[in-house]
């Protein structure tokens, strides 16, 4: 890694942070950098302190670090708050409007408001001035930013596009005239790489759902899950999807169960609070053996918790939600690429095993932008496991929706198919789907459903190992912690330590033997989780009798950084 720079844009909600951050991230990615970007925002539409952080490198980067090299401060609070992270970095600020109390050596004043007013006649163009200034201070060419601005403001018409470009150019020229050597961090563009995407976790889940042929999505908006619903809705007409905003999460899951029962590939999207309302319908999906994909995007709870921040606090909840015992499946992607492929896999598992399947993400993964190779759609398989009309015509016996079979899976027909009636019941039922409360039937049906879980367990792949397979310290992570953990492995390995990562994406049902084998090699196992009680390590203990040596836990609403993890590992004398 020759280049590793961290830029942070700080300001209040409503100041255009998102637009500025996105445009800069896209520009830097277009110039050939590997870009990783995160957002930190509060639950409000105006005001508050928000940041957009962009890390660029000439090698792949999947995590944010805690130090900043360049701070673009859009308000004075940004300077007060982030100065400690700055180290020997620089601040880009308009000192005409923002008072800088601290004495900072490396201040690069750019009169953004004045330039915007002088050049474009309106201070709203100051964001584009700031973008041009940042590109100038990094001593890069302006062309990529111009290209991105054109695309960003395409819908607003030629005049607006031109004004933004003029503003960016003026900001750029100002830095060329006043700081001809740029700031201390100058970089050379690696050159465009056409096969890389800049994509966040929610968009990737949406892409996965569309690739899997989702036909119906019903949901109630809830941060941080809403991005998936929005993404699918934006492309619904093109892909023949019906998207319905339900009156509440209870309706959302019940609606998709109806649609799924009648044959439509269906999903819902929510976060912990909404999922709480779905609990009863989760059991309904399982007892009626109706396929359902639930995108559960975690945020810190309980109750409203920290609506815009991140946590992996709902694993045990997803594992245990709803009354009774029944099969379910939990997948947890660690990167947008895994979001894409695991979402398509979730639909296939749901259809094959006729169970609810979770794709568990969190605010960090949902909103973070990753630079990744194009998703390979040729790997996507759509497997419906439905009886065709022809198959039904050749069947001699009356159709039984819950026919007892050796593997517990009953061949699935749809209501409306000629010659069959399809009946489902939330009560315990017989093979036809009619209420049956006899003890003998109960045991048969319970065993049938639970047996599917064991068949699925056989199919679940082993966790992925990053680093050397026989390291003496194994870091264990699940879902969104992949990026920071992989970087910790890189840093520590470079420093001569023997460390690897076992990254779990297939959480439940856990393939026990392969997991035990993977985790028996290391002298020390450290489970790293974005929660306060070590929920995944509890699962390892209960399901696979694995006791981890140590925990690294973070539950302040923020995601892990490699520095945070290494500091705790040192503190706990693991390394």
């Amino acid at each position: 890694m020759n280049i590793d720079l961290n830029l942070k844009i700080g300001g209040a909600a409503g100041q255009g942070l998102q637009t500025t951050g996105m445009a800069l991230a896209k520009t830097l990615k277009k110039s050939g950098f590997h870009v990783f970007a995160t957002q930190y925002y509060l639950s409000r539409v105006r005001g508050g302190h928000n940041t957009f952080q962009i890390r660029i490198s000439d090698s792949p980067v999947f995590a944010m670090t805690e130090s900043i090299d360049l701070l673009l401060a859009l308000d004075s609070e940004s300077i007060d708050k982030h100065l400690p992270e700055l180290g020997d970095g620089v601040v880009v600020v308009d000192t005409d409007s923002i008072e800088v109390k601290e004495s900072i050596d490396s201040i690069f004043h750019v009169p953004m408001l004045k330039i915007a007013k002088d050049v474009c006649g309106d201070k709203i163009y100051s964001n584009s001035v700031s973008m041009g200034a940042v590109i100038g201070l990094l001593c890069m060419e302006l062309a990529d930013l111009e290209f991105i601005l054109k695309a960003t403001f395409k819908k607003k018409g030629e005049e607006i596009i031109q004004k933004n470009i003029d503003a960016a150019r003026a900001g750029y020229n100002y830095t060329k005239d006043n700081y001809p050597g740029g700031c201390k961090f100058t970089v050379k563009e690696p050159g465009e790489n056409k096969n890389m995407m800049l994509v966040n976790g929610n968009e990737a889940v949406g892409l996965g759902a569309l690739a899997a042929g989702v036909q119906f999505l019903a949901a109630y908006p809830m941060t941080p899950s809403t991005g998936v619903m929005t993404y699918v809705a934006a492309n619904a007409d093109k892909f023949n999807v019906v998207v319905e905003q339900a009156e509440d999460e209870i309706a959302a899951l019940n609606m998709i169960l109806g649609a799924s029962f009648a044959g439509a590939r269906s999903m819902t999207t929510t976060s912990g609070g909404g999922f709480s309302l779905m609990a009863e319908a989760l059991g309904l999906a399982s007892i009626t053996e109706t396929p359902a994909v639930i995108f559960l995007c975690q945020r810190p709870g309980p109750a409203t918790g920290l609506p815009t921040m991140t946590e992996q606090g709902d694993l045990q909840f997803a594992l245990n939600a709803a009354q009774g015992e029944f099969p379910r499946c939990i997948l947890a992607p660690g990167t947008p690429e895994e979001c894409f492929h695991l979402t398509t896999e979730a639909f296939n598992i749901a259809d094959k095993y006729q169970i609810p399947v979770f794709v568990m993400s969190d605010q960090y993964l949902a909103d973070s932008l990753f630079t990744l190779p194009r998703f390979d759609t040729s790997k996507v398989k759509v497997e419906r496991h439905l009886l065709s009309d022809k198959e039904l015509r050749t069947k001699k016996e009356e159709y039984k929706r819950y026919k007892l079979t050796p593997i517990g899976i009953s061949p699935r027909a749809l209501p409306g198919q000629e010659g069959v009636l399809v009946v489902a019941d939330s009560d315990e039922h017989d093979e036809f789907g009619h209420i049956n409360e006899t003890p003998d039937n109960r045991i048969k049906m319970n065993d049938k459903r639970m047996h599917k879980l064991e068949v699925l367990r056989e199919e679940m792949p082993a966790a992925k190992v990053y680093g050397k397979p026989d390291a003496s310290i194994t870091l264990i992570g699940w879902g969104s912690t992949y990026g920071p953990l992989a970087e910790v492995v890189d840093i520590l390995t470079k420093g001569g330590k023997s460390v690897n990562l076992v990254h779990f994406t297939h959480i439940h049902p856990l393939p026990v033997e392969v997991t035990q084998k993977l985790l028996s090699k290391a002298k020390k196992t450290v489970c790293v989780e974005n929660n306060s009680t070590g929920q995944f390590s509890r699962l390892l203990k209960v399901d696979a009798s694995i006791n981890v040596t140590e925990h690294v836990l973070r539950y302040d609403g923020k995601p892990f950084s490699p520095e945070f993890i290494i500091a705790v590992l040192k503190e706990k004398e693991v390394i």
Binding site: L210, V242, M255, A281, V423
Partner: protein, 284 residues
């Protein structure tokens, strides 16, 4: 030709003399009269004595959760709008536990026929007050009598501009049959609130009580699309209780708004996995 025998005969878990039998008979007869085969019919239900109904006739059925007959019914209609979709529910199920779904399904207006077994009491849990119980009715829970005002389902539906609002009576099966036929034929959400005595627990609103009060409106004396007049009529309750169709508003159904359904049932569409590459281009 579809016959009543096609809909089968089942043993039920209902009390002898229950109003549910009349409703079951009317539903079966209405479906036969409309020439619908059992495999073309889908019934969603919630929980309660009413919601056991789909188990007692041949049809496709989804007997779901308490209060939640409408969301799965809506989902089924979206996935396969060629099915004749009924939601069979009760006063507790639909107006109590599932009240929110009722409000919003009316707004959505899917082509579903809602048949609400309204016996003004909770039967399955053995005799507690329901949202439509009369003020003063004493139960083991409401020991001082019901304080809360009863909900008027018809007035509520009309105020929300439900596209078809009607009331039937389990004691008049031919009338109820015709009403259900009209409701099924109506495109959009149709409400059939069915007055139904609970012979075990409701000692107030008995067959005798209803029979002395109900009358067939035949002619309403106002245009059926007159919402204000219909609302006024829906307030009539007491010594005389009108039966029949109160309000009809032929408007766009939920499915009409979904262009994608014009090409056939949603569930039959082929996935466009390859097209995702075009979206991916936008991220590059």
């Amino acid at each position: 030709m579809v016959s009543i025998e096609d809909y089968g005969k089942y043993e039920t878990a209902w009390c002898p003399g229950c109003g549910n039998f009349g409703i079951l008979k009317a539903i079966k007869q209405a479906l036969v009269n409309l020439g619908r085969s059992p495999h073309e019919v889908f019934i969603a239900s919630g929980i309660g004595q009413s919601s056991k109904l789909p188990h007692y006739l041949k049809c496709n059925a989804f007997n779901g959760l308490h209060g939640r007959s409408l969301p799965p019914a809506t989902g089924v209609k979206i996935a396969n709008h060629e099915l004749t979709v009924l939601a069979v529910t009760g006063d507790g199920d639909c107006y109590g536990e599932g009240g929110n779904h009722f409000l919003h399904t009316v707004r959505r207006n899917p082509d579903i026929t809602m048949i609400v077994h309204d016996n003004q009491i909770y039967g399955l849990t053995k005799g507690q007050a329901s949202p439509t119980s009369e003020v003063g009715m004493k139960t083991k829970i409401q020991t001082h009598g019901v304080f809360n005002m009863p909900l008027n389902p018809l007035s509520m539906a009309i105020s929300l501009d439900c596209s078809f609002v009607s009331r039937g009576y389990a004691g008049n099966i031919p009338h109820l049959t015709k009403l259900i036929e009209k409701a099924i034929q109506h495109k959009g959400l149709s409400l059939v609130d069915v007055l139904q005595p609970c012979v075990s627990f409701n000692k107030l609103n008995t067959f005798k009580w209803y029979s002395e009060r109900v009358y067939d409106m035949e002619e309403t004396g106002y245009e059926l699309n007159d919402r204000v007049k219909a609302f006024e009529k829906s307030l009539e309750w007491g010594d005389r209780i009108p039966l029949g169709v109160f309000y009809v508003n032929e408007k766009q159904s939920f499915e009409d708004n979904l262009d994608v359904l014009a090409q056939g049932p949603l569930y039959k569409n082929v996935p466009k996995t390859e097209l995702v590459n075009e979206l991916i281009d936008g991220f590059v």
